[in-house]
């Protein structure tokens, strides 16, 4: 039973000469960790906006095809209605946090849903704990580092208790250490809480080790879809996505005649393979 089902989804922004997303069909099962990638302008952000209803509610345009998310057809529901099923975390943490204390920002979502004070309190405390920022709850967002802010943004979405969380390039503004940490947080959401994750990323070397599926888009269409090992091949390179460097390395070595039992996608796997080869 899919939690996300798109068929022939096509969307053109009002006044745009071309469609941003064309004839996209895909199924996502509950609990998957999907990485969505592709060159700039390929339509990944448009897909994110469709998933939580910003398209067609906030952004008008020509929407054809079907998109059903957690049993709800996006054309028939408002973004507010979808918000407790699908959460969306944006690139820049600065413009998602607007209160003067993290706690109030995280409470914003549940408050909007009209929940009781006790329920809101429970959800806020839980979300802060899951993302590891309970000790920061009284601080204003501008005092926090980029990584901490992004955790708060995730907590704010988590407090709505959605089954799916979509993240649009959440590591863009973060330093390398924070980027690694935030991806661990996101991975925990998936592995420990069973939340379906759709992660849009350019930095595939960081994201691949958590993903069980990679979807590559180009010019509005889906061109590749499968487990990381399968997707990171010659075609991916031609499209111009940032295939993890260990894969590029192994492809070079393989071209030079070396044989490996599998092409690794993470540093650990790569180290294992090389160790085997060098110990022969």
């Amino acid at each position: 039973m899919s939690i996300i089902g798109a068929s022939n989804l096509t969307f053109t922004y009002a006044g745009a000469p071309r469609s941003s997303v064309e004839d996209v069909s895909l199924e996502v099962s509950p609990g998957e960790f999907v990485v969505l990638t592709g060159p700039s302008g390929c339509g990944k952000t448009t897909v994110c906006r469709c998933l939580n209803g910003l398209i067609p509610n906030f952004y008008s345009g020509d929407f054809t095809g079907e998109l059903v998310v957690d049993g709800m057809n996006v054309k028939e529901h408002t973004t507010a209605e979808l918000s407790s099923h699908v959460g969306l975390v944006f690139q820049n943490p600065e413009n998602q946090l607007f209160s003067l204390s993290i706690e109030r920002d995280v409470a914003f979502g549940p408050e909007n849903l009209g929940l009781s004070r006790e329920e809101t309190r429970r959800r806020v405390d839980w979300a802060l704990e899951v993302t590891g920022i309970t000790d920061l709850k009284d601080r204003p967002p501008y005092e926090l580092s980029g990584g901490q802010q992004q955790r708060a943004a995730i907590a704010a979405v988590l407090a709505m208790q959605p089954k799916i969380i979509v993240l649009d390039e959440p590591t863009s503004f973060l330093d390398p250490k924070s980027a690694l940490e935030i991806l661990e947080v996101i991975s925990d959401l998936n592995k420990k809480l069973g939340i379906t994750i759709i992660l849009v990323e350019h930095r595939l070397d960081l994201a691949s080790k958590h993903a069980n599926r990679v979807i590559v888009m180009d010019s509005g269409k889906i061109v590749l879809d499968g487990p990381p090992k399968q997707v990171y091949g010659e075609q991916a390179r031609l499209i111009g996505i940032g295939v993890p460097r260990v894969i590029t390395l192994f492809n070079l070595l393989q071209k030079g005649g070396l044989e490996f039992s599998q092409t690794p996608t993470t540093v650990k796997e790569a180290a294992q393979e090389l160790r085997k080869m060098l110990s022969r």
Partner: protein, 261 residues
């Protein structure tokens, strides 16, 4: 272009009795000063109204920032003095009007410096102001320091391209602000759209019944402040209506060199 004027309205969290006062009590106090300042034209009364604020500034431990905002308002104060004096009012009256302006600015500056926009929003909500309205207001207040930072970045960026803001005749200087204003407006619009997207995605407007996590409760000290304000206000009205106030006898006016005098 000094952006320091924004400092005078920027909230900073400090553990002073003024900061911790319920925003509704604080607002009552501010309105008390506001009404009193507008009521009186007598310079002695206005001096008193201004001096009354000083112990509050002291208690709120925001001397420096308050002084900075006063300095920033100096230009406007001088303008007000000039407008009054040049158009025929006496020296004393012009000074009184200037002092009135300064008192008003000071009172509101104090209010915004000691009240968190979040608390303001809560106060408005609990006063049954429609949520959309109170949210718009507090977000605007909350964004003032952010926009000030943006403005500084834009100024830096354009200066790095050779723009000199302090050179040229009057017309040139005005035109020099176009490369500052346009990026600022565009940034503000982009920021607002991003914020709107985030708000929509977190269910803004999903339910008409919001139960805010944090509730403002008036304490004894808050009620005390409100009571004192009402009393002083009543006293002020009484003085205005029944007590003739002395006025310094300094009949200096603008020499009649302009045709309208």
């Amino acid at each position: 272009m000094s952006l320091k004027v924004f400092d005078g309205f920027k909230f900073a969290k400090l553990p002073t009795p003024i900061h911790m006062m319920d925003p509704r009590a604080k607002f009552t106090m501010t309105m008390g000063l506001f009404v009193a300042a507008l009521l009186f034209s007598n310079i002695y009364a206005l001096i008193v109204i201004f001096l009354v604020q000083l112990p509050i500034v002291y208690a709120a431990k925001t001397w420096k920032k308050w002084a900075a905002s006063m300095r920033a308002g100096l230009l406007l104060a001088v303008l007000i003095f000039a407008m009054n004096f040049v158009f025929g009012s006496t020296l004393v009256f012009s000074a009184a009007m200037t002092l009135r302006f300064i008192s008003l600015m000071s009172a509101f500056s104090l209010f915004f410096m000691t009240t968190s926009p979040d608390d303001l929003g809560l106060a408005l909500e609990q006063a049954h102001v429609p949520y959309t309205l109170s949210f718009t207001f507090t977000t605007a207040v909350r964004l003032v320091p952010t926009m000030a930072l943006d403005a500084q970045t834009v100024i830096d960026a354009q200066r790095s391209r050779g723009l000199e803001l302090d050179k040229g005749n009057f017309m040139k200087r005005i035109r020099n602000y176009i490369p500052i204003l346009i990026p600022l407006i565009v940034s503000a619009i982009r920021r607002s759209i991003e914020l709107a997207e985030a708000l929509e995605s977190r269910g803004f407007g999903a339910s008409p019944n919001r139960q805010p996590l944090i509730v403002l409760r008036m304490k004894f000290t808050d009620y005390f402040v409100v009571a004192v304000t009402i009393l002083l206000e009543a006293l002020a009205v009484y003085v205005y209506l029944y007590v003739p106030l002395p006025s310094p006898n300094i009949p200096i006016t603008m020499p009649k060199i302009f045709p309208w005098l």
